[in-house]
Symmetry: C2
Subunit: 336 residues, 2 copies
């Protein structure tokens, strides 16, 4: 049926162990035999049997993506990035949806990893903020890499984005456009990004000598509905701000809808700014100013980070912070 190591070894005139050495890039194989074996490998079109490799070496060549994030667009980007890294290295991606409120999350994930001999995990927010969970994984010697961690544990590789800086910069841009009365809608408090984005906003206000107005600062949970509610709250006040910065695009869209229903013109009377650059940002009218993070690239790096660990490649991949991009579209009105 399919070509095995035995076939290759016969063709090359060496032992099966030597073939195994060559295909696993082990040391102590002479150049000449290496060449000989590789010639046979390509000639016969040999591909190692993953199941056998897995059985013997306890590795599955599969990594799993752990997520608990209703944001479909984010998820798709993350997947895309990981898949690119997988394709290049022969790994496979398995999806595992989690519930961060589940008490037994640690044990069920540990069981999953052991059952399928998953080689490593890629962990996304808000799971990346659950320190206890990560500790449990450490205790089981399960390898993982984290996207957007809160506690940057030296022990584990991660990729992060400059949420604080991006938020600070965007807020400064809003101020530069002449806005002095600026509202803010916070994200889900389980996500560390929420506080980073909020702090960036607050500090930018302070540094530019602009007064904080806590009536205009609303809680949210990243959902469209929570944005809508935040809008309702703000628009029921006597004074409303001239701009509202939401911690993500969905909430910004919710505010937009709420404003429309109150006949508040966007952007003439009110500027709205989001975060993420989701597809919606370009599909609403007016199109939304927002912050774009290189999510796909980040995810690809996270996957490389993980694979590097157990493949022991020569070029070491290291933890890295990625830079966001400020995108100005029609929803941000210039006052001066």
């Amino acid at each position: 049926m399919s070509v095995t190591i035995k076939d290759v070894s016969k063709d090359a005139g060496v032992s099966i162990k030597t073939v195994s050495r060559v295909i696993n890039n082990e040391e102590n194989v002479s150049e000449s035999t290496k060449e000989k074996v590789l010639r046979s490998v390509t000639k016969l079109g040999f591909k190692p049997n993953k199941s056998a490799q897995s059985l013997r070496s306890k590795r599955s060549y599969m990594i799993a993506l752990l997520y608990d994030n209703p944001n479909k667009s984010y998820l798709a980007d993350v997947q895309g990035g990981i898949l690119q890294a997988c394709k290049r290295t022969g790994y496979n991606l398995v999806l595992q949806e989690c519930n961060h409120e589940d008490e037994s999350i640690s044990s069920s994930i540990i069981e999953f990893v052991n059952d399928f001999k998953i080689d490593g995990l890629i962990i996304t927010p808000p799971l990346s903020d659950m320190d206890e969970f990560l500790d449990d994984l450490d205790n089981e010697d399960i390898e993982y890499s984290i996207i957007a961690p809160s506690t940057k544990k030296a022990s584990s590789p991660y990729v992060s984005s400059n949420d604080y800086d991006a938020s600070y910069e965007m807020t400064s841009k809003i101020i530069e456009y002449g806005h002095q009365q600026i509202g803010f809608v916070k994200g889900h408090n389980m996500h560390s990004a929420s506080s980073l984005r909020f702090n960036g906003f607050i500090n930018a206000l302070d540094d530019h000598g602009i007064e904080r107005n806590f009536d205009w600062i609303q809680d949210g949970d990243f959902s469209f509905g929570s944005g809508f509610n935040a809008g309702e709250n703000i628009f029921s006040l006597k004074n409303i701000p001239s701009a509202i910065f939401a911690s993500n695009d969905s909430m910004a869209a919710g505010i937009m809808k709420s404003a429309r229903m109150k006949n508040i013109d966007i952007p003439d009377q009110l500027s709205i700014i989001g975060f993420d650059d989701s597809p919606t940002a370009q599909q609403v009218w007016p199109s939304m100013s927002t912050v774009k993070q290189p999510v796909e690239e980040m995810a690809m790096h996270a996957a490389k980070l993980l694979i590097t660990q157990f493949d022991g490649l020569t070029e070491k991949t290291v933890s890295k912070e990625f830079k966001s991009e400020i995108i100005i579209r029609e929803s941000l009105h210039r006052l001066i």
Copy 2:
């Protein structure tokens, strides 16, 4: 380390083969030994080693999702549905992105399936419309189930939606609301859903004695940009329709934007109707009337369909057509 069949066989006082028989639900095992074995299995917490099973039985307990669809929300729903079916049956999902324009798609997928011993494929549009590709899979005896097939090959299990009926019904609803001048934007011509939706539209027009105006019928490819262009084309005409039905929500959003830029009021001057009920549909203003398909449910069924084939379960899952739901929101204006 982990519990093996050998441990169970010792504990139960039977041979390993008998344990294997029990866990695989094979025939010809007496009730008493079956019970004895199952007691040991739960007592020791035995889980069969997937790699070993896979090596010996040539099955991987993995199914793959084949996709080439830029619609992230659709993809996420499909994944969600499949994962639910997988969780219940112990299978795992692997993602495989394809390019339907790739000449070598058949060979690369066949190679992928053989390499990883993938048990079966779930095929989504537009790949589900590539008959040659499906024939190639048949020749290799690769099992698959199809979401939204064009040619309903009796040989292969599928799930489908009533695109034609839904489109017919939505068009009738638009007419019922008093619209006599209705435009249409077609979907990507590789997708069989595109012609089904178009035919439903045309036949509803005819049946209600409404004239077709081909200036108002535009080609599109399901992208926001193509919807925007379609809008530009229609709005440059002397007469514009009072409603436009787009073959999906992204294109509808594109038309909306184009209309806004021409200061055409939605929905007072122009009604816009989409298809899919993507998240955007609720996040734009006015929120969009659209057709919702039970994508997640369909995908779950497709996965069950596939797993049934090689697991030979007692209750046979069969191919099925799912019903869509007409959702009326603000973007459809009532004229009468």
